[in-house]
């Protein structure tokens, strides 16, 4: 039996104890209180009034003098504080009322809030009696007051304690405590189980109406349907641990008992009832587990071993296992209470919503109490028992069943203002529809009335008990809840299955069925077989829920078409392939059908299944296996004959290869000895791990060579390199090889689906790591190899070439404006920079023409039309003028028009400015060396200009084939000119606006 099942088959009480340890064990304060020093005890008792101390002294038999009564009494009482004899005597003298109070304190672990203790006592006794018991216990020095603050336990504050009233300011913060020595001597409370009052028969004349009928069979059918869905679909588990909406909506369609209400309106699985219940059961008993997927997702996986084990269990054991799974599960039955109205937004520390572990402990307590009662009672199953008596019984037995009341919330929280927080003596976080009175403390906007912890136990814990009987226990087939016509719970009863589960024995019907089957088997074994395989590929399972193990096996390779008294399945190729994929083989499928069928399986069925399986098993892929390669066939022959080798080697694969079974690491010593034995030179076997790739095994040589380091090569690495490189050299003895990258190998790699990234990652991660002060990382590929690999592996697309003219402007806006016009856009090849455009060569002349028309004539001398030869006028050599400088070359700016200037004067001044500009341009040309030969010569400037004109003429004649600038000398000579100003042109005179 698996471990989860073992735990779940423990006693219900034990399951509860493991979920939530007893309170006494977790309270370390109590241990300290059992070992207080005498001076501390004196101070502790000093917090009590003189009258209280006098009472304590009297009850403990301490006599003091008349004067300094209190101090003397305290001194004597300190000596008796932990004295077992004195304590025992006092306990024996206690009234039954006070003993009940002390026992309640013991049941709470030795510490309990005063409010809670009083509420418990007042459920059984009157207020006066409760006060009397309190005074008696305080006066007997068996119970004390304290309060718990952030500083620890404080024993007094403000006023002195009286016997019936603590001196602590806020009575809600007062706790009662006693010492471990007292707890040891307090007799155990009478087991409430023996109180018949808690288990009264329901005696009303009207038969209660069953809200949800107990039906374990339908739960089993739904579990099977649930598991089949998980098997056939890849169901993702969300971060909350539940399945998503899409899945639970589909699952709801498969269930025999559908969710009440409209499931499309629900957002989370936890909002559902039965679906959430089944899901949590399956998780709790390990029949479904969460498996991490390829990425960060988790998926639900059906655990075959646990399921097979579950289906093989008898019915009452299955029910008990699922009941235990419900106890330990995360199913929240508290949130299913229909009469409670939950109000969100309250901090967890202020909310009274029970934690999952508290719910587990409560469910375990309910089941263990039922179990204990049933094993000692004579009440028959199906007998209606009074529900209100059950509620009273649990209230008396365990007031803190769901909500911890041992201490009131600390005083700091009393000042905490939050919605739905009503105070420590109220239930916080929810209200009840059943409490609709107008009085009571409530939030200023909240419609519900706050529930009081002392009074409204039945409306909270009692309603939870009703919910437990109404849904989970009914779904499990163990119990039913009876209600009146208004739906209020009246009675409950256990089913025959519930009785069998609590008594841990099979049901009578189960035993009868077993006997009947044995009888049938004795007459004809075939009659007990549940399967009918028909020639039309339909398969019937009779009494499917009695044959769940078979049902589960059939589920693996057949499609269910219906499930009722008879389960109908259909065989088809896809379903059989599903089974084969899950690990079955054709023979197993045939065998299962033949062994369980009442009639012989038709031949067409067996032959078809055989054909399908043969087709599927043509190819078999063994993942992560181990293969031995021997140097020659004879050695493998010898090895295969060795008995030890036969345990290790599954079978021979080829002349020199054999398949090894299991984990080879586990078999290493055997293999080592065997291989050593058969190796002619006693060579040790070499282990080649195809999964491991170590950095540093590969080195790059030159631009294209990849060399595997000696002793690091293996066939897998050769394969990886051989995918994208050509073998150059291989040395098997050295276990090394050299490969060369090439265009042909790149083509091959592309056909195999390799990309540059994959290849580059393999190459770089196989090279020695680069170690810096902070990091270790794989090296990068050097430039030539990177470019070659990218080219050969198709990383880059082929470049394209175009004839183009470069058009440059000063500002980006100019190009934007030009090419925003549709007329020019065909001319644009590309904008290479914001101020540079590549123009299609064949469009350039037209573009130039249009731009000229628009007042932007492009300066492109290569495209200028040939000009007629015209000698420039001779320049006057400036005799006395200094050599022109950059400043002097700058044309003079025309003077601004004078006021009252006539048109004739303006024209004259314009002409003068143009003549000045022409003169300046000619001067700049005279400074340019024409070519290296001419540069620096003393020939007159006129010769140079003639030369230019001659070249221009030749240039035009040869259609631009003779570049002018080549003759003009080196480019450095033009450094003083901007590219845009080349060839230099006369500056335009600024026109007057």
């Amino acid at each position: 039996m698996n471990k989860t099942f073992q735990i779940l088959f423990e006693d219900f009480a034990e399951i509860g104890r493991k979920a939530l340890p007893p309170v006494a064990n977790i309270d370390s304060r109590l241990t300290q209180l059992g070992d207080l020093k005498k001076d501390f005890l004196s101070r502790l008792l000093d917090y009590y009034s003189a009258a209280a101390i006098q009472n304590m002294a009297a009850s403990r038999g301490v006599t003091t003098g008349f004067k300094q009564v209190k101090l003397e009494s305290i001194k004597s009482l300190v000596n008796l504080f932990y004295d077992p004899t004195s304590i025992k005597t006092m306990i024996q003298k206690l009234s039954p009322l006070a003993l009940d109070g002390l026992q309640r304190l013991k049941r709470a672990g030795g510490m309990l809030s005063l409010v809670n203790w009083q509420a418990q006592m007042q459920q059984q006794h009157s207020k006066n009696q409760t006060d009397q018991a309190q005074a008696e216990l305080i006066g007997a020095m068996l119970m004390f007051y304290a309060t718990i603050t952030y500083n620890g336990t404080e024993f007094g504050a403000g006023q002195r304690h009286e016997l019936t009233k603590s001196g602590i300011y806020n009575q809600r913060d007062v706790i009662l405590w006693t010492t471990p020595q007292v707890l040891e001597l307090v007799p155990a409370p009478i087991q409430p189980v023996s109180k018949a009052a808690g288990w009264q028969r329901y005696a009303a004349p009207v038969e209660p109406k069953v809200k949800n009928s107990a039906n374990f069979e339908s739960l089993l059918a739904d579990i099977i349907a649930f598991l089949r869905y998980l098997d056939l679909n890849q169901v993702k588990i969300l971060q909350s641990g539940d399945i998503g909406k899409r899945d639970f909506v589909k699952l709801n369609e498969l269930m025999s008992v559908k969710e009440t209400g409209k499931i499309a309106d629900l957002k989370k699985l936890e909002e559902t009832g039965r679906l959430s219940f089944i899901w949590n059961l399956l998780l709790a008993c390990g029949m479904v587990a969460s498996k991490p997927g390829k990425y960060a997702d988790n998926f639900a996986v059906v655990q075959t071993a646990q399921n097979d084990e579950f289906y093989a269990l008898p019915r009452y054991r299955q029910a008990r296992l699922l009941a235990a799974a419900w106890i330990t599960s995360n199913f929240n039955d508290f949130s299913r209470i229909p009469t409670l109205e939950f109000t969100g937004g309250l901090p967890a520390e202020l909310s009274d919503l029970p934690e999952p572990l508290k719910l587990t402990a409560a469910r375990a307590q309910v089941m263990s109490t039922l179990e204990s009662f049933w094993q000692h009672s004579t009440v028959a199953a199906q007998t209606w028992l009074d529900f209100s008596a059950l509620v009273n019984y649990f209230r008396d037995l365990s007031p803190d069943l769901l909500i911890e009341r041992r201490f009131s919330t600390t005083s700091a929280y009393n000042y905490y203002t939050s919605d739905h927080y009503y105070g420590p003596e109220y239930y916080n976080g929810f209200t009840s529809q059943l409490k609709k009175t107008t009085t009571g403390k409530k939030n200023y906007w909240q419609t519900g009335v706050a529930l009081t912890q002392g009074e409204d136990w039945a409306l909270v814990e009692g309603e939870w008990l009703a919910e437990v009987f109404s849904e989970p226990l009914a779904w499990l087939g163990l119990a039913e809840l009876g209600s009146n016509e208004n739906g209020r719970p009246l009675a409950f009863r256990l089913t025959t299955l519930g009785e069998a589960v609590l008594e841990n024995r099979p049901t009578e019907s189960e035993q009868a069925l077993k006997a009947q089957l044995e009888q049938l088997a004795a007459a004809d074994p075939n009659l007990t077989k549940p399967l009918l395989v028909q020639p039309n590929f339909d398969v019937m399972i009779l009494a499917p829920l009695q044959n769940m193990a078979l049902l589960r096996q059939l589920d693996r390779f057949a499609d269910q078409t219906s499930l009722g008294d008879v389960a109908m399945y259909r065989l088809n190729k896809e379903s059989v392939l599903r089974g084969l994929r899950s690990g079955l083989n054709g023979a197993e499928v045939q065998n299962l059908l033949e062994v369980n069928s009442r009639v012989p399986v038709a031949q067409n069925i067996t032959s078809t299944i055989r054909d399908w399986s043969n087709e599927f098993e043509r190819l078999i892929l063994h993942e992560k296996t181990t293969v031995i390669e021997m140097p020659n066939a004879e050695m493998l022959d010898r090895l295969m004959t060795m008995p030890q080798a036969q345990k290790v080697i599954t079978r021979r694969l080829g002349p020199t290869f054999a398949l090894v079974s299991g984990n080879s690491a586990r078999l290493d010593p055997v293999l080592l000895s065997l291989l050593d034995l058969h190796s002619p030179k006693k060579t040790s076997p070499v282990y080649l791990d195809y999964a491991g790739q170590q950095p540093g095994i590969l080195s790059v040589e030159g631009e294209n060579l990849l060399r595997l380091k000696a002793q690091s090569g293996n066939p897998y690495l050769y394969f990886r390199l051989g995918q994208f490189a050509d073998l150059v050299e291989w040395n098997p003895a050295q276990m090394s090889a050299t490969f060369r990258l090439s265009a042909q190998a790149g083509q091959r790699a592309q056909q195999a689906g390799l990309t540059y990234d994959k290849v580059a990652h393999f190459v770089t991660s196989s090279q020695p790591e680069v170690v810096t002060a902070q990091f270790r990382h794989a090296p990068e590929l050097d430039g030539p190899m990177k470019l070659a690999m990218r080219g050969w592996l198709g990383y880059y697309s082929p470049p394209t070439g175009h004839k183009a003219i470069v058009l440059r402007v000063k500002t980006r806006e100019q190009l934007d404006d030009i090419f925003s016009i549709a007329e020019f856009s065909p001319a644009l090849l590309e904008r290479s920079t914001p101020t540079t455009a590549l123009i299609r060569e064949d469009h350039f002349l037209r573009l130039r023409e249009r731009l000229t028309e628009l007042g932007m004539p492009p300066v492109a001398p290569e495209f200028d039309p040939p000009t007629p030869l015209k000698l420039l006028p001779p320049l006057e050599e400036p005799a006395d003028e200094p050599a022109p400088t950059g400043k002097s070359r700058k044309p003079k700016t025309p003077k601004p028009p004078k006021p009252h200037e006539t048109a004739a004067e303006r024209d004259r001044r314009q002409r003068e400015a143009e003549a000045e500009a022409q003169s300046s341009w000619n001067r700049s040309l005279s400074n340019i060396p024409l070519n290296p030969l001419l540069a620096g010569s003393a020939r007159p400037m006129q010769d140079k200009l003639e030369m230019i004109q001659t070249i221009q003429l030749l240039n035009a004649l040869s259609n631009g084939k003779i570049p002018l600038d080549g003759l003009l000398g080196d480019d450095s000579d033009f450094d003083e000119f901007d590219d845009d100003d080349y060839p230099p042109r006369p500056p335009r005179p600024r026109r007057r606006r």
Binding site: L621, I628, E629, P631, A737
Partner: protein, 97 residues
């Protein structure tokens, strides 16, 4: 191997330049080799293996041919390989060790 199958044998060297595609990795007197974590593909007949090699991308994934009916394949791309084989109607039965 039959003569027909021999004639139709796929030349794996056209798809990979590994020296051990069809050759032994050890030699007479050399060490026995234990290949760990390998993925082995077995076919019922050698004709089926050749057929699959011809018809599918298996030829690019063969690390070694170890017998006429069995090849070692690239473990890193086994998922893609299984998908490709299944798409072509050669779904393999997968056995996980």
């Amino acid at each position: 191997m039959t003569q027909e199958a021999s004639n139709k044998k796929v030349d794996l060297s056209a798809f990979n330049s590994s020296p051990t595609l069809d050759k032994p990795a050890t030699w007479l007197g050399g060490p026995p080799l234990i290949h760990q974590n390998v993925t082995l593909l077995e076919c019922v007949t050698e004709a089926i293996l050749e057929e699959v090699l011809t018809a599918t991308d298996l030829k690019y994934a063969v690390v070694r041919r170890i017998s006429p009916q069995a090849v070692l394949v690239d473990s890193a791309t086994v998922e893609e390989l299984v998908k490709a084989l299944t798409k072509r109607g050669y779904e393999p039965k997968i056995i996980k060790s």
